[in-house]
Symmetry: C2
Subunit: 382 residues, 2 copies
């Protein structure tokens, strides 16, 4: 194990009928900027519950934060927040609304253009308004971490930055019952691959972190078919919501190395083709596993044995089976796992290679995933 520092101060309020608790969690004297995505919260009752809870508060609504929140939209929210002198941000929605609101919370206190905050990458030591969330789509873990990913559609770019943790997040599994099944599938995939990024490196770093990572993977595999069958299964949706939050809040990454190459390549697929984040990961991961099979071989075998019960005497053949089984799982969620099935041509591979070459990036736990390796990964999943 390597040295680490862990601190996660977010308060999680979890369960049925918990949205009303925001009235006790937000100080009465705050001027609250409430941020939303599209109108789905008006249909599923969440908006009404939030309105009810905020009776007596001074609050301002900002609507229209899109999937993969765009800097141009967020600039408008920041302008509203500055104009109304807001001093608290409440994000109501999925990971995109919460991610975008992290930039809004920082941008309201920043004099320059908010994209500069993104490009500074780490805003954790700088000022931001307190932020809280009402989560409606389990996937990104943004409700209990300090990360956010912001897009600039004008320049087809997408970057992560770090800011403050939400003060509190309300997780009511019933808000997820009416989500589109594609979003649920992407959320399950996102949860799964967040864990993989923190787990599928080398063996013998921490048996406890390995067990906890495997525990989330096993849980997602167990609940996915129940959710596909009935999205109103409260316990299944509750465990999905809990798993998604636990998958990216630092609980499974203490003292161990991390990868994230699959995410970095996936972000480019979203930037270039608008694919949902979780979906891009299911396309890239089987390629990453295959191309990196020498570095990651022992861990892939441990993963296969413990999570899928796959063992074999031929090392390469067993690794191939484990990767195939993983891809099958993604396809069982209803996701298409090949680039060519998703409207991408060979020019996508060329462009991503060019960008990585230009930025001189090296991803992965050993910093070995450069532009050439990224090309190999994408060719494998074409």
């Amino acid at each position: 194990m390597t040295n680490f520092i862990f601190k996660n101060p977010t308060k999680i309020i979890f369960g049925k009928n918990t949205i009303s608790s925001i009235s006790e969690e937000i100080p009465r004297d705050k001027r609250v900027l409430v941020t939303f995505g599209g109108g789905s919260v008006k249909e599923n009752g969440v908006y009404k519950q939030v309105q009810e809870a905020l009776k007596g508060f001074t609050f301002f609504e900002f609507w229209g934060i899109e999937a993969n929140p765009d800097i141009s939209t967020l600039r408008k929210a920041i302008a509203l927040g500055k104009e109304e002198k807001c001093d608290f941000v409440l994000a109501v929605g999925g990971g995109s609304v919460i991610d975008g609101s992290k930039l809004i919370a920082a941008g309201i206190l920043y004099d320059g253009d908010a994209w500069e905050i993104v490009m500074k990458r780490d805003w954790t030591a700088n000022k931001a308004l307190p932020l809280a969330s009402v989560l409606t789509l389990p996937a990104t873990g943004s409700e209990m971490n300090a990360g956010a990913v912001i897009s600039d559609r004008a320049n087809k770019e997408k970057f992560a930055f770090y800011s403050q943790y939400p003060v509190f997040s309300v997780l009511d599994p019933e808000t997820t019952f009416t989500l589109p099944s594609h979003q649920v599938a992407c959320g399950l995939a996102d949860t799964f691959i967040h864990v993989i990024e923190q787990y599928l490196t080398t063996t013998d770093q921490s048996p406890l972190m390995d067990r906890w990572a495997e525990g989330i993977l096993q849980t997602v595999i167990e609940i996915a078919p129940q959710i596909r069958e009935n999205q109103h299964n409260y316990d299944a949706m509750a465990n999905f919501m809990l798993s998604a939050t636990m998958a990216l809040n630092g609980f499974v990454s203490m003292g161990v190395s991390q990868d994230w190459a699959t995410h970095m390549i996936g972000h480019e697929l979203t930037a270039l083709h608008g694919l949902t984040h979780g979906h891009t990961l299911t396309i890239v991961l089987p390629g990453t596993m295959w191309v990196m099979r020498e570095e990651k071989g022992d861990k892939i075998l441990q993963y296969g044995k413990r999570v899928w019960n796959i063992e074999g005497s031929d090392r390469v053949e067993t690794i191939r089976k484990i990767i195939d089984r993983t891809e099958e799982f993604f396809r069982s969620l209803g996701l298409k796992t090949k680039l060519s099935e998703n409207g991408a041509g060979v020019e996508t591979i060329d462009e991503i290679e060019r960008r990585f070459e230009e930025r001189k990036v090296k991803f992965g736990e050993n910093r070995t995933v450069d532009s050439a390796v990224a090309r190999k990964i994408l060719e494998k999943v074409f």
Copy 2:
């Protein structure tokens, strides 16, 4: 899953040579009361590292917090803290020093006698000084939770109360290399049974929490023989330290029921016979499992299958095997698991039954462990 609220704000600073970081974590203007147990930290270098880190701070030392911290000792520390106008408490030691320091941190700001704080049971909404810790003995989890257990030897009593979380805790696994092997054994047992108390109830509450609980149990079982063989094995001790902290910080109990009957009976054995806390649990648990086998049967079978790989067609016989295997594990740590091996006579059972009867307590996840059931449990492990 049931509704829950989770918040754990403690900052964990984990790894080699991390004690020096306390100089950056404690504000310079604080008057620090530094609390210690016996003199072992003078022998293993911890005291020197703490002294070095506190150069330039105004601090006062209080020595002599014993195992199962006694109210009479803590009263003296509180008097010193009041006299010197301390406004920060730094506990350097194991769970007893940290538990005791939680009462000290509350007591310095309290006008009455500190035992009143214990008897109020829940001090979380009341004032206490900020507390931090340098942990030297993995076991109780006190370094990352709000609980504490205080003894009153004069009246042979021992009670838990709840206060604030430590602001930060420094966990350097190297501080554990020279611990007496009996203390390490008790720490491993304590870690194991903390998890059992939050896990061994009923099945199908949360597959994720089950996996995480089993993950700690599997890790303790995996590292225990490595630790018994070589207490200077850094990775094994680091994973022990991490497991002990994760076993009782709320991470494995989200949305699930909890038991704690074994602890409540164990506390009485410490109060009456001075046995080390972790050791008392290894005596009581096999009895709890056997006597409660109808309520807990399905979960015992899940535990046996997943953690010990024990399965069988005869339900009762399989449960018996699983309990025997658990007890064998405790004995492999060098602990004697029968009451009669540990200086307790039948009068101990009579006295605990009498106390539980007098207090009209009902413990366990279904509140079914009363004085009569406690007698059955103790008779089983006599």
